[in-house]
């Protein structure tokens, strides 16, 4: 059965897809490419005592959404509006839906209030915050909620319709793949789109994904209805397993249990490289033999993607760059601008570099590392042109200090706030 742009499609008894097809979209949220367009999936669930709407669509597709909705329900039957995620591609039709069904109650996650406020701008927002275990009855059937934050925003949740074994998953298990045949066993090959979507939206939150899978694994899921892409009715558990596989480390770390420090550098005349080697040597010397694994990489000839994979698994990152025209060198920024694809929480960062005139690169890199939410507890080392033995000793001390922080051996520092200015 194909979905039709002008009519709702039943995906389970009393449950209809009432979303919209957007086959011409080629870029989603600016950063995600969409070779096959996308869909904005919304659903209507009919119970003996009313109708629930699960998510809406992007605003410019509201007419399609309301047309389908009207084909399966009257507005005065709508008692419940569930918003699994409040980004505009899922809430664009919400204001108009509330105008047409003012009696409906909104159910959102406990983290979604500020987003709802940003969308509706009402003085008194009427909504019910829900979390795992909370339910809402539609008479002969019941929706329950799973608190699954950061998949991929803080507000995200899943909704479970037990009698149908149906998980309304929001953005997880979704993908940007528009095919009017709607169901995963009927559409074209969307495996790449599924993995690509995970890599760009979920990968930075893979620990949260694994937490969510713990909740989902406990459910007898027979159908997954995500917010984008095909409805997964054929072997839905395959997609759950795929998420688990994708959320496990990209690179198997044979040094498991050992702290890892990556030292990246660029060097025009060998000076920043000499500093990099001193940082690495200082780190190697710290702690018990084998307690820390230090790796040196020349960024000038490295590819960004494999470095991102390495960084995802690392505990500490150090960047060495010369200063050219008052800036760090482009390969450093290319790598640092690619790190939002992975989780960086708790990692340690530092910078160093040789310079000829003004030497701004080190502080700029440190600022960027802080901006990426790394911890930067040690001040970087700068050297004018050829580093002196004293400056190389400072590099060794930087490496040593980083290693001590990584291995939990950092000595207690007591400082006055005035010294931090």
């Amino acid at each position: 059965m194909s979905a039709r742009a002008d009519h709702a499609t039943e995906i389970a008894p009393g449950v209809h897809w009432i979303g919209a097809l957007d086959p011409d979209l080629r870029s989603f949220d600016i950063i995600v490419k969409t070779a096959n367009g996308t869909t904005y999936n919304a659903y209507a669930v009919r119970g003996s005592e009313g109708v629930a709407i699960i998510d809406t669509v992007k605003a410019c597709f509201a007419d399609e959404f309301f047309c389908k909705l009207e084909s399966v329900a009257r507005y005065d039957e709508i008692r419940v509006i569930v918003l699994n995620h409040l980004e505009p591609d899922h809430t664009g039709a919400l204001p108009e839906l509330l105008r047409r069904a003012p009696q409906a109650c909104i159910y959102i996650s406990t983290r979604a209030k500020q987003m709802l406020k940003g969308l509706l701008h009402g003085d008194s927002l009427d909504f019910t915050p829900v979390t795992t275990g909370d339910t809402v009855s539609l008479g002969d059937r019941e929706l329950s909620f799973l608190h699954t934050p950061f998949l991929h925003w803080p507000d995200t949740q899943c909704t479970w319709l037990a009698d149908a074994g149906l998980l309304f998953s929001g953005d997880i298990f979704g993908c940007h793949f528009c095919d009017s045949r709607l169901f995963n066993d009927a559409v074209g090959d969307f495996r790449f789109s599924f993995d690509y979507y995970y890599a760009h939206l979920m990968r930075p939150f893979r620990e949260r994904v694994l937490q969510a899978l713990e909740l989902i694994d406990a459910l007898p899921v027979s159908l997954i209805a995500p917010a984008h892409g095909p409805v997964l009715r054929d072997r839905p558990q395959h997609y759950v397993r795929r998420y688990r596989d994708l959320s496990i480390s990209t690179l198997k770390n044979e040094a498991s249990g050992v702290k890892t420090l990556l030292v990246f550098y660029l060097s025009a005349y060998g000076n920043t490289r000499t500093m990099a080697e001193a940082v690495a040597a200082g780190a190697e010397e710290a702690g018990e033999p084998g307690s820390i694994r230090v790796s040196l990489f020349d960024l000038e000839v490295g590819e960004v993607a494999p470095f991102v994979d390495l960084i995802e698994e690392a505990d500490g990152l150090v960047f060495g760059s010369p200063t050219i025209n008052g800036d760090a060198v482009k390969p450093v920024w290319d790598l640092l601008s690619s790190l939002t694809a992975v989780g960086l929480r708790g990692k340690l960062g530092a910078a160093f570099g040789s310079f000829g005139w003004s030497g701004e690169a080190v502080a700029m890199i440190e600022d960027r590392l802080r901006g990426l939410k790394l911890r930067v507890p040690l001040k970087g080392v700068r050297a004018k042109l050829i580093p002196t033995e004293t400056e190389l000793e400072a590099c060794r001390a930087l490496g040593h200090g980083l290693a001590q922080h990584l291995t939990g051996q950092a000595e207690e520092q007591i400082i006055d706030m005035a010294a931090l200015a």
Partner: protein
Amino acid sequence: MPKANVTFEDVNVTVSVPAGTRLIEVSEKVGAGILYGCREGECCTCLTKIVSGYEHLAAPSTLEDQVLKDNLAPRHHRLACQAQVLGGNVIVKPA
């Protein structure tokens, strides 16, 4: 000026600060792992565990209190962008 001591447990750094200092004014400078988002007390990204010395912090504002409740914050947790240290010794770490 009255002073207080704030220890950022995850980096093992103690900072002597003037009374009234907010945690956000210090934590990034010492490289502590407290993360910030909006920095205005709304997003709850900087939720921080007060390991000890909770009584030495200024009471949360109505806004902070509501955000802590909305986000189901555990006991003795505060927003680092809002919490002001009034005196004594306070030990904190990322939530």
